[in-house]
């Protein structure tokens, strides 16, 4: 600034500039004004209108879930655009999950359960006015199973032989065999618009993600109004949604914030209203902030140490049990998770679920017993270095965990220290996720810390089946009895009848310790109190997005 008279002008511009953002956008903490005192939930009930900003650490990959990587955010987004035939209820903890009508108003089985007929809602239409018909359902099935489309979950449809259009609002699925997950498999995947997306031949689907966005018609509560995945995706109300007064919100913004620390910052500053997954270390700060609400719920994820049974160290079940006895899981849980948001896992079926065998309890932490078992197997510290050895070889291995998951990295550090007391050397190593998965599927690891999300139908085949070595049974645990029992359990048309079988399976796994279970935890979501009626759950964080509403003053 040369001349002195420029200064007041400059100052004025500066002030103008800094306060310019106050009226644009959503407001929140940006204008620096004091936040109003929290108001109780409005007695008037849901208000129509308003915007909610959801913060996510990954960007949605596209609107066509069949061709793009099905990341969590993509699936949540697509579900708001393309509803499924039925909506799975989050009640799988009490009993096998029930289904509520969504695009289909009812369904019925044939007596032999090889045919499933759906009746679609009369009032379901696409956003361009064209009714949703059975042709759309058939078209969706064809797309899902087409080899050039190469959908990740196509294997779920492998037992469906045909999808028959009975009349415009009635569609029939034919099965090759009867099994417990028929309804789930049919229901997987949103129903796509055949009258628009059918125009592009299947072989051209891959590589044309932009085309689907440009030719987007939806049947769900929201439609896409702007798409900039690295920054934000904006959803607006679909006026043609079949639920007449829903959704309440005018707009939902899905904002991509790569760095979890920045995401939390934006939650506190009010730029973001809802964060689906918050680190336990932030729990206290969120609870102390009157503008925010913490929503915890038990999640169906369990974390364990997978022992690679191809490695002679881990081939013996007694040795694996000794390892479990030598790991102080309660201390790990208490250290890594504040409050009561996590607990030691007992079984691959999490404790909050109906199929969990309540007679089971966790193995205790008993380093003496652990040492005794190992010594009985011939392990002695013959050279005085503190590490057990046998035939000249020390009991030493590498424990992998993936970068980006702080708890698992921390757990492996604690395990190293605890096993040292027993005379075992565990070397924690953090590797990139993709690399870890590569080692897992190839079996080229000693032990790894890994997390599994439990199937809502209690199917443990992927994690413990003898043939699932590349899918989830990375440690190559082979037990024909488990295989047989799983098949038997899954073949029961009524899943509850399989409870005794599930109990038996869990007891065998408890005895064999193919993996050392570490913890199950609650997922913590955080939301600004101006948003009401949000009920994130284990199935979807945006489960009932259409019911969310905000106070009228925004």
């Amino acid at each position: 600034m040369r001349s002195r008279s420029a200064r007041p002008l400059f100052a004025a511009l500066l002030v103008l500039f800094l306060t310019a953002g106050c009226d644009g956008g959503k407001g929140g903490g940006e204008d620096g004004a004091a936040t109003p005192a929290p108001r109780p939930a409005s007695a008037l009930g849901p208000q129509r209108g308003g915007t909610v900003v959801i913060g996510w650490t990954a960007a949605p990959t596209g609107v066509n879930e069949l061709i793009t990587q099905a990341t969590a955010i993509t699936t949540e987004l697509v579900r708001q655009l393309f509803p499924q035939l039925l909506q799975e209820q989050p009640d799988f903890e009490e009993h096998p999950p029930t289904f509520r009508p969504l695009l289909a108003r009812s369904y019925e089985w044939s007596p032999d359960r090889k045919t499933l007929t759906f009746h679609l809602r009369e009032d379901a239409v696409w956003s361009d006015g064209v009714p949703v018909t059975a042709d759309d359902v058939r078209f969706t099935w064809q797309a899902e199973t087409h080899p050039d489309v190469a959908w990740d979950s196509a294997y779920m449809k492998e037992h469906i032989t045909d999808v028959e259009v009975v009349n415009p609002k009635t569609v029939r699925f034919h099965f090759a065999k009867v099994y417990a997950k028929q309804l789930e498999d049919v229901n997987e995947g949103g129903i796509l618009p055949s009258h628009v997306w059918g125009k592009l031949p299947f072989p051209q689907w891959r590589g044309n993600a932009d085309w689907f966005r440009e030719h987007l018609v939806v049947s769900g509560p929201f439609n896409v109004s702007s798409w900039d995945p690295q920054q934000q995706v904006v959803l607006v109300r679909n006026p043609r949604y079949f639920e007449k007064d829903l959704p309440h919100l005018d707009k939902v913004v899905i904002r991509n914030v790569a760095d979890p620390a920045s995401l939390i910052t934006q939650l506190f500053s009010g730029e973001v209203d809802f964060v689906p997954q918050v680190q336990p270390s932030e729990m206290k700060s969120i609870q102390e902030d009157p503008r925010l609400r913490l929503i915890p719920y038990w999640f169906r994820l369990y974390v364990c140490v997978i022992w690679n049974e191809r490695n002679p160290l881990f081939a013996d079940a007694d040795v694996r049990r000794a390892l479990t006895l030598g790991i102080d899981r309660q201390t790990i849980v208490d250290t890594l998770f504040p409050g009561d948001i996590a607990r030691v896992a007992v079984s691959p079926i999490v404790q909050s679920v109906w199929a969990f065998d309540r007679s089971l309890g966790p193995l205790p932490y008993d380093p003496r017993e652990s040492r005794r078992i190992l010594e009985s197997k011939g392990w002695k510290d013959s050279n005085g270095d503190g590490i057990l050895d046998k035939n000249g070889k020390p009991f030493s291995f590498v424990l992998l965990s993936n970068a980006g998951n702080q708890q698992r990295n921390d757990a492996s550090v604690m395990i190293q220290e605890q096993l040292k007391q027993v005379g075992i050397r565990a070397e924690p190593r953090v590797v990139e996720f993709n690399s870890l998965v590569n080692d897992a599927t190839g079996g080229t690891f000693d032990a790894m810390v890994f997390g599994f999300t439990m199937d809502t139908s209690m199917d443990l085949t992927a994690q413990f089946g003898s043939d699932s070595v590349e899918e989830g049974n990375f440690g190559a645990y082979k037990n024909p009895e488990i295989d047989r029992l799983m098949v038997e359990a899954m073949a029961k048309p009524q899943a509850q009848d399989a409870k005794p079988i599930f109990d038996r399976i869990q007891q065998i796994l408890h005895r064999d310790q193919p993996v050392t279970l570490l913890w199950e935890s609650q997922r913590l979501s955080a939301i600004n109190r101006r948003v009401h009626d949000a009920r994130p759950n284990v199935l979807f964080s945006l489960y009932n997005l259409e019911d969310w509403w905000v106070d009228a003053d925004r």
Binding site: G21, G62, T71, D210, Q231, Q266
Partner: protein, 322 residues
């Protein structure tokens, strides 16, 4: 001169080819592939994985894949992104403007701060102001960038909420008019550009100071002063005119290094630039995207070197014969 430029250009192209080839083979050597990305609650069956490999073209022998990719690139076709299923060119070009904006803004901050403080320091060498400037620039220069960024966010977005905590635009940006939109962008640009710029300004301060001090000691400056020209003119007109030209070369290098991706700042400030794009692409093994983003970065660096060499050759003719 022309021959010099042409020779350098040819060398740069050769280098680009080498870098891309090395990247290609190294990438495929890395464990894991796009088809092995299993999410925790989904499993891909073995058949599905094979099918994906076929669809991505990964089932052919590596040299064949290389040849196909190379010939496609020669035609200008950089392929389809695995994770986003759209043309890679578009993905990269979408990220370029953000990177450009941040790079240019940071460069402006860096040069402006460097100039101003360098001049102030040079005019009063050895004074308290001079020392203060040098100490502060040393302090700034010695911090890791992510630390500065984090502190800036804590100060100006949380403790004293006047600026946004990240991102390029506010939430309601599509409803704003273009004037308001520009203002919104500028508000989001301030913190990252200032942090990035100030972190490097120390070098420029020192350079300007020493360069100016050198020039101010010259004969013609003393002559100008003797002639009675005001000190201000002496510094701003005569001295700077001679001290600044080499700075242009430095600016060029600075700009290009900023352009090839200030990854750390992009992560801290959620800035949607090329750095983050590449990082995510590598982690998800999105081969075509990694190759294209790497090519972009390599081109930037090679362009910088080429420009620097040319400028150097223009200034110093001896260099041309090398």
């Amino acid at each position: 001169m022309i021959r010099f430029i042409l020779r350098r250009l040819a060398a740069s192209l050769l280098l680009l080819y080498l870098v891309l080839t090395a990247t290609f083979f190294l990438l495929h050597l890395a464990p894991g592939s796009p088809a092995t990305v299993i999410l925790e609650d989904q499993r891909i069956s073995a058949e599905q994985r094979e099918n994906l490999r076929r669809v991505y073209g990964l089932d052919r022998p590596l040299p064949v894949q290389y040849a196909r990719w190379l010939s496609a690139v020669a035609r200008g076709d950089w392929g389809t992104s695995f994770s986003q299923q759209r043309p890679v060119k578009r993905v990269v070009l979408d990220a370029v403007p953000a990177t450009m904006i941040l790079a240019v803004a940071a460069l402006l901050v860096e040069q402006a701060a460097g100039l101003v403080f360098g001049i102030v320091a040079a005019r009063r060498p050895g004074s308290a102001a001079d020392h203060a400037i040098r100490v502060v620039s040393l302090l700034l220069f010695s911090q890791p960038g992510f630390w500065l960024g984090l502190m800036a966010i804590l100060l100006f977005s949380l403790a004293w909420p006047i600026l946004p905590a990240g991102h390029m635009y506010s939430v309601g940006v599509d409803e704003m008019g273009s004037g308001a939109r520009l203002l919104d962008l500028l508000r989001h640009l301030i913190l990252p550009a200032v942090v990035l710029g100030l972190a490097e300004a120390g070098s420029v301060v020192r350079y300007v100071r020493s360069s100016l001090l050198d020039v101010l000691g010259q004969e013609y400056i003393r002559a100008a002063r003797a002639k009675g020209i005001s000190e201000r003119r002496v510094v701003w007109v005569h001295a700077l005119r001679n001290a600044l030209p080499p700075l242009i070369q430095v600016m060029a290098i600075s700009l290009i290094s900023l352009l090839s991706g200030a990854l750390v700042m992009e992560v801290v400030f959620s800035w949607p630039g090329i750095g983050r794009l590449t990082f995510d692409a590598i982690l998800s093994r999105d081969y075509p995207l990694v190759l294209a983003a790497t090519a972009f970065s390599a081109v930037m660096v090679l362009a910088a070197n080429l420009m620097a060499d040319v400028l150097h050759a223009l200034a110093d003719p001896r260099v041309r014969d090398e």
